[in-house]
């Protein structure tokens, strides 16, 4: 018996959020007296997959069929279900993402499993199996008991603290895994994929520098980009900014955009409408820079500067450069 954890790959590397899911799954396995097994689908070097061992995994099942080289939630869910059945897994864990939710849902229907998405903490496995998750876009939490035999948890970033310095160097054992693939999962044909290879993923980023209408126009974005570069941060924006085409839609952070949970979120010239807050309230630390002292975002911030972003940002960039 094992707790099965699915890890997402990005260009052959395990995503950071998935490594968190491995650490989370390993602790659940420890609570249940089981071992942690990882499933990875797609191309990856064995040495990369062995890294899951540092986060507590014992084994890694690797499905590397050429047909699975393109991300396909339907086929990946089939692989997940077959891996769970092979391992006798009663608890399946994925990290919160579009793919994680899609796979969890399809697998839950196949396995008649209770699925809880947005899990924010380790489950209470003392007797009943209870999980707590984020609801109302971070404005509240709900705790529920999962009654089904098989339980599927989709965990949010930062659901547990990981001390990277405490990780062991033990490599996981990587085994080849060949799921039965169904033709019906490959009916859709991919016409085109556009990925911004050079940019840090917002959902993976530890630091995000984000701009709003206070940046006054796309031609004034350079000071924000300079700070992001100095901090090694991803860049985001508010909804009005993407609506105005100042920045691309995939940078839109908020209730109807991307929800992020970095360690540090720096909001520049964003007033903090409740819909924007809903997308950032999972951040560990929020900094707000705005010339309006009444901007509602200051109420949600840990640190604030009332001032002109075009005067403040260069100062922060210079200070950030000196960190190295």
């Amino acid at each position: 018996m094992s707790v099965l954890i699915y890890v997402e790959l990005d260009n052959g590397s395990i995503k950071k959020t998935s490594l968190e899911a491995v650490a989370y799954g390993a602790r659940v396995a420890e609570q249940l007296g089981e071992k942690a097994t990882v499933l990875a689908v797609g191309k990856a070097e064995t040495a990369e997959l062995e890294k899951a061992g540092s986060y507590g995994a014992v084994n890694v099942l690797h499905a590397a069929d050429e047909k699975l080289s393109h991300e396909n939630g339907l086929a990946y869910a089939d692989a997940l279900v077959q891996a769970a059945q092979q391992e006798g897994s009663k608890v399946i864990i994925l990290s919160k993402s579009g793919l994680g939710d899609a796979m969890a849902a399809r697998a839950a229907a196949k396995l008649k499993a209770g699925v809880v998405s947005g899990v924010t903490a380790l489950p209470d496995t003392n007797g009943a199996f209870k999980v707590t998750r984020s609801i109302f876009t971070g404005k509240a939490f709900a705790t529920a008991e999962i009654k089904s035999d098989v339980k599927i948890l989709v965990v949010k970033k930062n659901a547990i603290e990981i001390d990277e310095s405490q990780l062991t160097g033990t490599a996981a054992t990587v085994k080849s895994f060949s799921p039965q693939l169904r033709d019906s999962d490959f009916k859709a044909t991919v016409q085109n994929v556009e990925k911004a290879d050079s940019e840090l993923s917002l959902t993976e980023a530890e630091i995000i520098v984000s701009g709003g209408r206070g940046m006054k126009g796309p031609e004034h974005w350079q000071p924000l980009l300079d700070l992001a570069k100095a901090l090694g941060a991803a860049t985001g924006c508010s909804k009005p900014v993407s609506d105005l085409d100042w920045r691309p839609h995939h940078e839109h952070i908020g209730q109807t955009g991307i929800k992020v949970a970095p360690s540090l979120y720096i909001a520049c010239g964003i007033s903090g409408a409740i819909q924007h807050l809903a997308g950032v309230n999972g951040s560990k630390c929020i900094v707000v820079i705005n010339k309006d002292p009444e901007a509602p975002f200051f109420k949600a911030a840990d640190y604030g500067i009332v001032g002109d972003v075009f005067e403040v940002l260069p100062k922060l960039t210079e200070a950030a450069k000196k960190l190295k």
């Binding site: 991300e71 809880v116 509240a140 008991e145 009654k147 999962d185 994929v193 109807t256």
Partner: protein, 245 residues
């Protein structure tokens, strides 16, 4: 083309969330309810596709009678008829089972809904419905065109987007900018009163999860203000005090 659009009935995005009955129930007092914002996008695109194809659009909600004003609004926006499954849903699995049951009786070509509800934020109902019906599901869909029996879908993926061509039937979770939200006009509001809103009882579902209690995040501490003239100090505090650099 037969289209089914599934809508949620959720507290307005600005609603203050509190709980009653020893934190076991949402306090609905003074809360304004709306159609889920993502569902509004699905509905708007569904109405456009219906008008283009000359097909039909049914709106479906799993919930209690207090959602009827939002269902009537969807009818006013352009749905032909509505179904409400009369139940207080416990979880996503319950909702998906009800949707799949209705859909299995009616052979819809396209089942649209928001990428997630803004109350429970699970984002799994479209996937559950797709698997229960044995048809593909994709989300979040930002652009959708139908040509004959084939859909061209632009959907968001991590750090970008991908364009798919897929045969109908499909279940899709939608988000902006798939369409502009539609506001009902007076003619729509008047005709919505006469359109059918059929209420049906739920099919039985094995209990997967049982809600136990709700809680609120710990209150936020005061924001530490730093003078703009000493902005550099912020970087030091982020490193030494907040320990996030």
């Amino acid at each position: 083309m037969k289209i089914l659009v599934c809508i949620t009935n959720v507290p307005d995005t600005t609603a203050k969330i509190t709980f009653t009955d020893n934190d076991t129930k949402l306090n609905k007092n003074g809360v304004q309810y709306i159609i889920g914002p993502y569902d509004d996008y699905a509905l708007a695109r569904g109405v456009e596709l219906k008008e283009q194809s000359g097909g039909t659009l049914t709106v479906l909600h799993v919930g209690e009678a207090d959602a009827d004003p939002q269902i009537r609004k969807a009818l006013a926006i352009g749905a032909d008829d509505a179904i409400r499954v009369n139940a207080d849903p416990l979880d996503s699995y319950f909702v998906a089972t009800q949707i799949a049951h209705i859909a299995s009786q009616n052979n819809y070509d396209l089942i649209l809904m928001g990428r997630e509800s803004i109350d429970y934020n699970s984002g799994v109902v479209h996937g559950l419905v797709g698997e229960m019906l044995g048809i593909p599901s994709y989300s979040p869909v930002m652009k959708l065109d139908i040509d004959g029996g084939t859909a061209t879908i632009s959907r968001e993926i991590d750090g970008g987007k991908e364009i798919l061509k897929a045969p109908l039937p499909l279940v899709l979770g939608c988000q902006e900018p798939i369409s502009e939200w539609k506001i009902p006009n007076m003619r729509g509001i008047m005709t919505a009163r006469t359109k059918p809103l059929n209420v049906t009882e739920p099919v039985s579902v094995e209990t997967m999860t049982v809600p136990e209690k709700y809680s609120l995040p710990a209150p936020k501490g005061a924001c530490k203000m730093i003078p703009a003239g000493e902005a550099e100090m912020l970087i030091r505090l982020l490193q030494t005090e907040a320990k996030v650099l």
